[in-house]
């Protein structure tokens, strides 16, 4: 785990299971596509021959720089994602700069979704989404291999059934 996590939220006695390293590729592709779209928009003035000024160069460079930094941070960010299946709840963590650990009691889970986008599917991955009554912050666990996702879902559904409570 990166140093920021050791200094930050790192509860003792929790052994995080990491998500697949292939998920780095997924986020990279998403970041590159996103930056490309924004970058293209930023380059438009230059392409369309707007009057030359400093901003015509500054804005696209800034966009590219942000995209580049984003790409460089991606592997660390993916390594910061972790989960643990505990006796009565599911523990999930993510983030380096802004860190977050969530505990979802099995009894509160209503649905477990498996989502697969095109890039995710190409790499044989899947994303698990837990739906509780708190719709505002659904907990999403990305970057699982398909087998892991199915196994985890079946396990969670099974334990949720036995510990159903509290809507």
């Amino acid at each position: 785990m990166p140093g920021a996590i050791r200094r930050g939220l790192d509860p003792a006695g929790v052994d995080w299971t990491r998500v697949s390293p292939r998920y780095v590729a997924v986020t990279l592709v998403n970041t590159i596509i996103g930056s490309a779209i924004v970058g293209f928009a930023a380059f438009l003035p230059l392409i369309l021959g707007a009057p030359i000024g400093v901003w015509v160069y500054v804005i696209p460079s800034a966009v590219l720089l942000v995209g580049l930094v984003d790409c460089l941070l991606t592997p660390r960010r993916v390594r910061a994602i972790g989960y643990q299946i505990r006796q009565d709840d599911f523990l999930f963590r993510r983030g380096i700069f802004f860190q977050r650990i969530v505990s979802v009691p099995y009894g509160r889970m209503q649905l477990v979704d498996i989502n697969r986008g095109p890039v995710v599917r190409a790499l044989g991955l899947a994303e698990l989404k837990f739906v509780t009554a708190a719709a505002a912050t659904g907990v999403t666990l990305p970057g699982l291999t398909m087998e892991d996702a199915v196994r985890l879902r079946d396990h969670l559904i099974a334990v949720a059934e036995t510990r159903r409570s509290g809507l």
């Binding site: 920021a4 200094r7 930050g8 939220l9 509860p11 003792a12 009565d88 709840d89 700069f97 802004f98 860190q99 977050r100 650990i101 969530v102 505990s103 979802v104 009691p105 009894g107 509160r108 509780t132 009554a133 708190a134 719709a135 505002a136 912050t137 907990v139 510990r163 159903r164 409570s165 509290g166 809507l167």
Partner: protein, 489 residues
């Protein structure tokens, strides 16, 4: 068919005035638009009928679809044809309304409520009674004239999961509400129970009484109204001093002020005659002077409670109470979903309302007082460390939380005092978060997430070492409370 609504009964019809109440306004509006648009054409065609007959005089051309009408009118005369047309229209509208009313029916069985409707496309909607989250009764002004009520049954599910029985006779709506809630609250046993203990049709007594003058005053001061006045006054003054064109601005400000006043009046009208009372099936909330809303919220659906006091209310000792409740589609509930369980009340009202909405969580008076107005720690409250002053400012002395047996309480606010109570059995997940700045100052925040709503259940600026312990303890407590809650049912 008689309005013999009841459990196990057959299919029942809605209130006879339903088509009018549902679509009456729309029909009138459409008719008005049609008349306004065709009036000129009709008048022109007949007043200047000869001119229209001459070719090339295009300005009097009637719309193509109306041509047969004009041809007939030339033979039989305008009044006869007009009367026949209106009669046909009335027959069609009344006929369709009657048909839709005939085909719209509902029934309540021991397990479910079922509604079917539609003339060409038949729809049927069924709600399982053990999934019912709450029942409200709304009465618009028009409906009240006809003695009709709208019964809305909300079920578990976030959006569009309402079963709408509009409109019913008032007495039928009241009876159904009680029966549905009895069945929803305790499936199985209730059939006998309701026989032994016939549904009370009398309104239970409200635990608070809000004098209208207090309600009006509370809406005028606080919640931004004074801010609005100040802004308008400042803008007027500023513009007047710049150039003497204040008159124009004043003219513009008048309609604006009227609009804001209108909003204020409607807010007050909606909250007048507020009542909140405990019933066997949940908390019953009624409000409204012209249009009335009657909502029954099972207490298990209340996920978070916030008591708050804006600065300007402090001299009067007024408080208001908001809740997050399950089965709500979101913040923009409008007047159909009640999330304010006390519009304005004194300290004693707060204590009584809290006892009603959180019957399983006994809070001592001293604890409530300390949470509402106290500072520092005590009563088991844990505060924020001194170094969090930059994040909390003057509210640091009040910023604290307390983990109880069945609930977690959060207290804060220097100018706007707040107190939040979250029953642990309702918490959906617990999270601990830390941003960069917080990490540098060894702080962290804990959130006990509930259903969406106005009440925020995040507690920030805890010492991070303590936050880790608290996170473990709270998430355990949430699991235990959930299991206990399940066994109690």
């Amino acid at each position: 068919m008689s309005q013999q609504a009841g459990i196990g009964g057959g299919w029942n019809r809605l209130h006879p005035a339903t088509p009018f109440l549902r679509g009456g306004i729309v029909v009138l509006a459409i008719a008005g638009i049609l008349i306004a648009n065709t009036r000129d054409a009709i008048i022109n065609a007949f007043i200047a009928g000869d001119a229209a007959a001459e070719p090339g005089n295009a300005q009097y051309d009637a719309p193509g679809w109306a041509q047969p009408f004009f041809d007939l009118a030339k033979v039989f005369g305008i009044w006869v044809v007009g009367a026949v047309a209106v009669a046909i229209l009335v027959v069609v509208v009344v006929g369709l309304s009657y048909l839709s009313w005939r085909r719209h029916s509902y029934r309540v069985t021991a397990e479910s409520v079922e509604v079917r409707s539609g003339i060409v496309f038949r729809t049927s909607r069924q709600a399982r009674l053990d999934r019912v989250q709450g029942v409200n009764i709304n009465r618009s002004v028009l409906a009240r004239i006809f003695g009709a009520s709208q019964l809305k049954i909300s079920t578990a599910g976030q959006d569009r999961s309402q079963l709408d029985l509009s409109y019913l006779r008032n007495s039928v709506a009241e009876k159904l509400r009680l029966e549905i809630l009895a069945l929803a609250g305790a499936p199985g046993k209730s059939a006998q129970a309701s026989e032994a203990d016939p549904p009370r049709l009398v309104e239970p007594a409200s635990v608070v009484r809000i004098p209208p003058i207090r309600l009006v005053m509370s809406r005028i001061i606080g919640f931004g109204t004074l801010g609005f006045v100040a802004v308008v006054a400042a803008a007027t003054f500023a513009l007047m001093s710049v150039d003497n064109s204040g008159r124009a601005l004043l003219l513009a400000a008048v309609p604006f002020t009227i609009a804001v006043g209108g909003i204020l009046v409607s807010r007050v009208l909606r909250l007048l005659r507020f009542s909140i009372a405990p019933t066997g099936d949940g908390v019953r909330i009624g409000q409204g002077l012209l249009s009335t809303v009657n909502d029954t919220i099972p207490t298990g659906r209340i996920h978070a409670v916030e008591v708050l006091q804006p600065l300007l209310w402090r001299p009067f000792g007024w408080w208001t109470i908001l809740i997050n409740k399950a089965g709500d589609s979101g913040v923009s509930g409008g007047d159909q979903s009640v999330t304010t369980v006390l519009p304005v009340g004194k300290r004693d009202d707060v204590v009584r309302v809290l006892a009603v909405i959180l019957p399983d969580i006994p809070l001592e008076d001293a604890l409530i007082d300390f949470t509402l107005t106290g500072t520092g720690t005590g009563h088991g409250f844990v505060g924020a460390p001194k170094r969090s002053w930059f994040a909390l400012g003057l509210s640091r002395n009040r910023h604290s939380y307390r983990l109880g047996q069945d609930e977690i309480m959060m207290r804060g606010g220097f100018l706007w005092r707040t107190m939040v109570v979250v029953p642990l059995a309702r918490v959906q997940n617990v999270s601990i978060t830390q941003g960069w700045l917080a990490r540098q100052t060894r702080l962290a925040a804990i959130t006990t997430q509930t259903v969406r709503g106005l009440v925020r259940t995040r507690f920030s600026s805890l010492d991070s070492a303590h936050a880790h312990e608290a996170f473990a303890v709270i998430s355990d407590a949430v699991i235990v409370a959930g299991l206990r809650d399940e066994q109690a049912r």
